[in-house]
Amino acid sequence: MASLGATLKGILSLLVGLRITGKEFLRPTLTTHYPRKEVANLASFRGHIDLVGRDDAPAVPRCIMCGRCMELCPSGCISLGWRLEDGGTGGGPLLLAPGLPLKGSTRREPPAGPLGRELVHFRLSYTYCSLCGLCVQNCPAGALEFSREAYLAGTARGDFQFDLLARLRTRAAAPGARAHAA
């Protein structure tokens, strides 16, 4: 008798399943036909990373050249370089919390005044990026964000080697440049 009850219950569950799929079958489709239509809800999309410009000078990145993103990146896809403003070369990564030296770190104490450094290049090798977001999360200056590039496509590996500094300058020069609100 118990097995009969279980059987009836099972049959009922099958009918419930059929009713659900039958209902969905009759309802309109939810997908967007991409090349003809595009979705509008890209605000939460995680594209590749992009540099954020300063509020007073949108073409100048907020980056303080601490090199943290480069060190954190598990795939090693970020590389940045800078030069000293007085014309000198070199100058390694800076210690972010002065007085708290990290074991084995070659970071130097930051100068008391202005940094005196200029970002020369900030390159992203997007083919290796896994979009983990560690760089964006850990940037002390809020200089990185996710772009909204949902429709990236290319035919060569070089298409995904991004010069983020150049991208920032192009975006700042473009009419109606997006002000960053972070």
């Binding site: 399943g17 059929l18 659900i20 799929t21 969905e24 079958f25 489709t29 939810l30 997908t31």
Partner: protein
């Protein structure tokens, strides 16, 4: 001259050849149509459009798929038994045409009037298992062999309730001729056998889904465990023939179910053939609906359902039919 032509056309041999040609054309077109229908049904159930890019509403997608399959290289794996390997898909496809011959698509639209039409269909449909077995054995591949072993035990098991369910109707009507069985259900919807033999219909349909290796009983080609089961090693049209054969057998069992239980071509207003096709494709739609609703059963569940569930039920149904016939008739 006209008399001679009519005499030639009326000859049974000519009729048979014409019927076979029509059936073969139907099998091809039906396969393409069902592939499209299946993908559209899958799409709609998952709230996506399904095939959409090739032709209006993706209507030409099966043509593109067919061209792709036909132009692909046929690969025979190393160490495979070449003869059995290629015999598999051919043997899957070859008997399908015969299965359509005794089915009454209309009052006179039957390829071959046979007194034992039902037996002919069941016998030739049974050859499909042999094809799957040969394919699995000849492939020299463990997934294929496992799939074939499953196919054999599943088909052997489910053929029995399928037969017993059909036998209940045969016993009631006293004929194995499908045209007679169809004609016996004249006189409105309520005289269809589905209302006289509801248990037999349910058992028949469930067993038919299992016999044609359709989800939720698609264990011989369970993708998640056996790659593709018995047709793992087949490329191009080798796979294509299995594919078309599967859809054709689905159509055959649905046509038999429609003939045995749903009044075949009986229906008001329209000519009989449209009613028959509507019933067949309605049943096929239900099969697709099943596939995209139910998850695959485990193998022990599959065999338990047959041996402990369907078999006793269909036997009891057959016995009850016999007793009632004895008492009433």
């Amino acid at each position: 001259m006209t008399d001679l032509l009519l005499a030639i056309l009326a000859h049974p041999a000519v009729r048979l050849v014409v019927a076979l040609l029509v059936v073969m054309a139907f099998v091809g077109a039906n396969g393409m149509g069902l592939v499209y229908l299946e993908r559209k049904v899958a799409g709609f159930i998952q709230r996506r459009p399904g095939p959409y890019e090739v032709g209006p509403q993706g209507l030409l997608q099966p043509v593109a798929d067919g061209l792709k399959l036909a132009t692909k290289q046929l690969v025979c794996p190393q160490g495979a038994d070449r003869l059995l390997f290629w015999l598999g898909p051919l043997l899957a496809m070859a008997p399908t045409a015969v299965c359509f011959l005794p089915i009454p698509f209309g009052p006179v639209l039957t390829g071959l009037e046979l007194d034992a039409g039902l037996v002919l269909i069941l016998a030739f449909a049974g050859l499909n298992v042999l094809a799957l077995c040969l394919a699995g054995w000849g492939s020299n591949n463990k997934f294929a062999l496992l799939g074939a072993a499953r196919a054999v035990s599943q088909s052997v098991a489910y053929e029995i309730p399928l037969l017993l369910a059909a036998l209940a109707v045969v016993l009631q009507e006293g004929s194995l001729n499908l045209s007679t069985l169809a004609a016996g259900q004249a006189g409105g919807v309520l005289s269809w056998n589905v209302f006289r033999q509801p248990v037999a219909f349910l058992v028949f349909f469930i067993a038919a889904v299992a016999e044609t290796n359709r989800a939720p009983f698609d264990l011989p080609e369970a993708e998640s465990e056996l790659t593709a089961g018995f047709h793992t090693e087949y490329s191009g049209m080798g796979f294509g023939l299995f594919f078309v054969a599967e859809y054709t057998y689905m159509t055959v069992v649905c046509a038999v179910a429609a003939t045995l239980f749903l009044g075949a071509w009986q229906g008001p207003f329209l000519p009989g053939v449209w009613w028959m096709l509507a019933k067949v494709y309605g049943l096929l739609l239900v099969m697709m609906w099943f596939r995209w609703t139910f998850p695959r059963v485990r193998f022990d569940q599959l065999l338990n359902l047959c041996w402990k569930g369907l078999l006793p039920i269909s036997l009891a149904n057959l016995a009850a039919t016999a007793v009632i016939l004895k008492l009433v008739g």
